[in-house]
């Protein structure tokens, strides 16, 4: 469903991403790994429309989307999280999820002002959807807390829930396990697998936690200093000499 070919991104003199290609099929978990500064987040930013790539093509469900504005891309069904959690800190947990459903609710102003039955129904639906996902990620008890007051691990989960209420086809997670303890990482592992198997969502994942990546990925793309280094199944990547030298060997 997502096909990235020869993607390049140049910042002045720095070629942060150089001819990277990857693809994600339906119901597949694909991981991007690579050392710090390899250009992984930049690839995400290009795909999600935050940057306009300087070269290459991005196809989503057969449509070319490079250079499409970010908010339109998320409406196509491709949403992302951020390496550094970005929540609406002064809004409550449930309000964070309501904001995400903005376009489901986007009826005209008048309908909202006089609270037509149709409007109420939609509002109730989005509350229900929020409730469902809060329950799913174990945050239901904290629904009325301010998001900024949540513990770090809870914020990470809220960010994923916030993506899921938009009912995406492809979920892009940028280092979701960073800063989590082993128990939380295990929960995350199960959550991601269940997103794929129970909700038919494809996942594009950036992660440094190798055991998580090796465990849940269907395929892995390795990039190093902006250039693609290898790609394949976890087993193939693990045995690739270049990868061992450049990345795994370091650790």
């Amino acid at each position: 469903m997502l096909e990235v070919s020869n993607l390049s991104m140049r910042f002045g003199g720095l070629l942060a991403v150089d001819q990277v290609s990857l693809d994600v099929q339906e119901r597949e978990i694909v991981s991007i790994i690579g050392p710090n500064g390899a250009g992984k987040t930049t690839v995400f930013n290009c795909i999600s429309g935050f940057y306009k790539p300087t070269g290459g093509k991005i196809l989503f469900e057969g449509r070319e989307i490079q250079g499409t504005p970010d908010y339109k891309i998320s409406r196509l069904g491709m949403v992302r999280t951020f390496q550094h959690v970005r929540l609406f800190n002064q809004m409550t947990v449930v309000e964070n999820l309501l904001v995400a459903q903005h376009r489901h609710l986007n009826t005209n102003l008048l309908a909202g002002l006089i609270k037509t039955p149709n409007y109420r129904e939609r509002e109730q639906k989005s509350l229900d959807r929020a409730t469902y996902w809060l329950d799913r990620v174990g945050l239901l008890d904290l629904a009325n807390r301010e998001a900024g007051n949540l513990a770090y691990g809870q914020q990470r989960r809220l960010e994923i829930a916030r993506c899921m209420v938009t009912e995406p086809k492809l979920l892009m997670l940028d280092e979701p396990a960073a800063g989590l303890n082993p128990a939380e990482t295990k929960d995350l592992n199960q959550l991601i697998v269940s997103l794929k198997s129970d909700y038919n969502v494809s996942v594009l994942l950036i992660e440094h936690d190798m055991s998580l990546v090796m465990d849940i990925s269907d395929r892995i793309t390795v990039i190093n200093q902006g250039r693609p280094l290898a790609s394949g199944t976890p087993a193939e990547v693990r045995q690739n000499d270049d990868v061992i030298k450049a990345y795994l060997g370091e650790a």
């Binding site: 339109k72 929540l87 449930v94 609710l105």
Partner: protein
Amino acid sequence: MATPNFKHALFCAIVTLIIAYPILGLNLVAQGTKVGLEGATTSTVISVVLAAFVVFFFQLFRDSIMGNLGKLPKLNPLSGREPMPQAKRAKLESWVLTAIVVFALFWPFLVSRGSVDLATLVLIYVMLALGLNVVVGLAGLLDLGYVAFYAVGAYTFALLSQYFGFSFWAALPIGACLAALFGLVLGFPVLRLRGDYLAIVTLGFGEIIRILLNNWTAVTGGPNGIGGIPEPTLFGMEFGRRVKEEGNTSFHETFGIAYSGEHKVIFLYLIALVLAVITALVIRRLMRMPVGRAWEALREDEIAARSLGLSRTAVKLSAFTIGAFFAGFAGTVFASKQGFISPESFVFLESAIILAIVVLGGMGSQIGVILAAIAVTILPELAREFADYRMLIFGAAMVLMMVWRPQGLMPMRRIHIELKRQE
């Protein structure tokens, strides 16, 4: 520690001397055909020196003075309290607002005509401030040209009545919608700009509108303005001594009471009150609707908001347009109240005053904005002797406010949507 402070204080004192002496101490006097320069009188020199001393000592002990100022809220017995639970606060807030409105309804019958007239002006400012609050407080867009939309509303009514004989009630929605349209058209190219740039461009726009009104003499009458703007009617009843419009009746004759100029003033006041209440209610509702949440989300974290499919331009534009709409509302009422408008009513100072009300009131908070509107409009009237120093006092108040309570008199505490557990 002390030395840099001392140097700085000395420097500031000298600057004060250098600036103050020529401005206050030297006078231009006409001597026949020539213009001569005359030195200062002793008293001026003394006060300039005194001022320099004040500046010197203030700067010397600035840290401790400011520090103490910062601690002032501790004197306030309410400040240390736990915030009220949300449900209780929401209830209290609606009670207070209802009480204010009920009081405002009966109040004009007890006081003088002048007070009612002033109160109408306060209500116009309340409307303006509530509208600007949407733009600045809720959507976080610094708009320094808000008065332009106020002018559009006022001039729409003035022109429609002059050329096409429109009544107040017909012009009210048209004025508001036209102002909103201006907001939409102007906002579209401008809202891509960020922060300071936006402030400057909106400032420019405000001036352009005023200058246009000033110079387009053929239509707007230029600096002479437009007069003879009709007052509102009540179901076709006019409040003047004699009926002006064919087909209308007059209020005092219909009810068989003696004519009194007060009827008109009170009626206008009540209209302004109703419109202000409508404005407050609509904006309250908007805040709890998806648009309101989108404004807040975009203000809090624009990148996250965009990643969730919120279009920056559309969301900001909605705030800008809605703000402009209410300015148009207020403008129509203003034109009707004055009966005469000219570009002079829509200078930048007006934008600054409305912005000051929003900031003083605590961005986003409605009760705060209402109180601030009352304070800013009425205090200068009470202290007429100090009229010359109005701007000075105003500026000092703003500076103190920024130091002491940067969040405003009553900072907004938004009512959150609660998720009720279905057990």
